[in-house]
Symmetry: C2
Subunit: 248 residues, 2 copies
């Protein structure tokens, strides 16, 4: 048995997300189809986690196992030859047999791009959230200070596993930086793990604070409520990029 | 009579170019339609020059004349409300009656993005030329040195007005800089004016030199031949951006 690790970039605009779904074209599905075409048998490609429709990745990681060793240089060229140009395999590496793209991950970095100019940049329309409300950057910083650290993020997570007994909603957010960039800011999230829609729900809540809809001081109450209904609306998907997945 | 100047950005991916054409959707056409919807009469929008299908603009300039004065703040919001999100009016200003977006222009700046990584960045696929051949940056610099200055650029221009008696193929290229950027380089052209397809034909020729297909020393012979057939292939449109148009 051989295990291989893929480093993947994709423009998520035209996909229903990472994960294979009954209706819709997924990135995982496209990569599995391409591998099957090359290897002449079915292959299961397991990603570090799913990304939703419209969400992008510069550093998604996945693994797949095969019985025979592969010529990775040829495989990289063949895969990129078959895949559509909005999905690119950046690198393929041999991995230890026990490496698992999802379970072995010890950290992830997400960027969320906010576009704040009055007139939207047409080149950012698919890669950022154009916030029409007036955003106060001081309030955005104030809001951001409440999130780093270890918290029960239930109020910032959408359904998914909420019913499940083994579900642990406590996560450690190591860093939430606000970095200025052309036309807006980039919110950089680094954590040990993220709940479903957690980044977009935090961003949506931060924007409600920064646009004066609610006070930053409410955020501890939102955490305490453990109720998704208390936090802000989810930020739209196209501003979100999975930048990096860390392994030991 | 009132004359207004428009500053326009567009992602040219889904258009047949700036200029209204019998078949195909043009940027000029989209803006004229939006103005007509607002002003309830036909309006002719004259750009600084045409851009081809797939070519982008961050700083296209155009003008249009109307009989009655307009509320520019409202017009900007209405236009951007009607236009598709890949065309944005960045600014509208009153202009002198004699201002003409094309004839008053005294200079233009174009950028051409070359993407040189082995694996293409999916986010650059529509905004750069992914050159698969090995590019020697020293040779690229060597080739670039032959273009600035005042030359007869006939060998680097496609048809258009070649038959016309009044046609003057002499142009002054003030600057051709090679600026490193993430994944490649940006070729920056600044000139008093450009012939049809001149930038893309120069870039195509420079890449033939930089990839070892021909010597930089041939470039003076290409100029001297005054024959489009002597220069290299035209570089693809999606790497080209009209950045700025200068007026006195």
């Amino acid at each position: 048995m051989y295990n291989y690790k893929l480093m993947i970039s994709y423009d998520g605009t035209h996909y229903s997300g990472w994960q294979v779904q009954p209706n819709g074209i997924s990135i995982q599905g496209k990569i599995q189809e391409a591998l099957q075409k090359i290897l002449k048998h079915e292959v299961l490609v397991i990603g570090s986690g799913r990304t939703d429709a419209g969400v992008h990745a510069l550093g998604q990681v996945a693994h797949f196992k095969v019985a025979e060793p592969l010529d990775l240089y040829r495989l990289l060229a063949s895969l990129n030859g078959i895949l559509p140009r909005d999905i690119r395999i950046k690198r393929i590496e041999p991995a230890a047999l026990e490496f698992h793209a999802q379970h072995s991950a010890i950290g992830k970095t997400y960027h969320y791009h906010l576009h704040l100019d009055y007139v939207q940049d047409p080149f950012q329309r698919l890669y950022s959230w154009h916030v029409r409300a007036k955003v106060d950057l001081n309030l955005l910083h104030e809001a951001s200070a409440f999130f780093p650290g270890t918290h029960d993020f239930t109020s910032f997570a959408n359904e998914a596993h909420l019913g499940c007994a083994a579900y642990d909603p406590v996560r450690k957010l190591k860093r939430l930086d606000i970095v200025p960039e052309d036309g807006g800011v980039c919110l950089q999230f680094e954590g040990e793990g993220f709940l479903y829609k957690m980044v977009r729900n935090i961003v949506g809540t931060m924007i409600e604070v920064a646009s004066g809809k609610r006070k930053a001081a409410c955020i501890p109450e939102i955490f305490a409520a453990k109720d998704r209904g208390q936090a802000g609306q989810s930020a739209p998907p196209q501003g979100l990029f999975l930048m990096r997945v860390d392994y030991p």
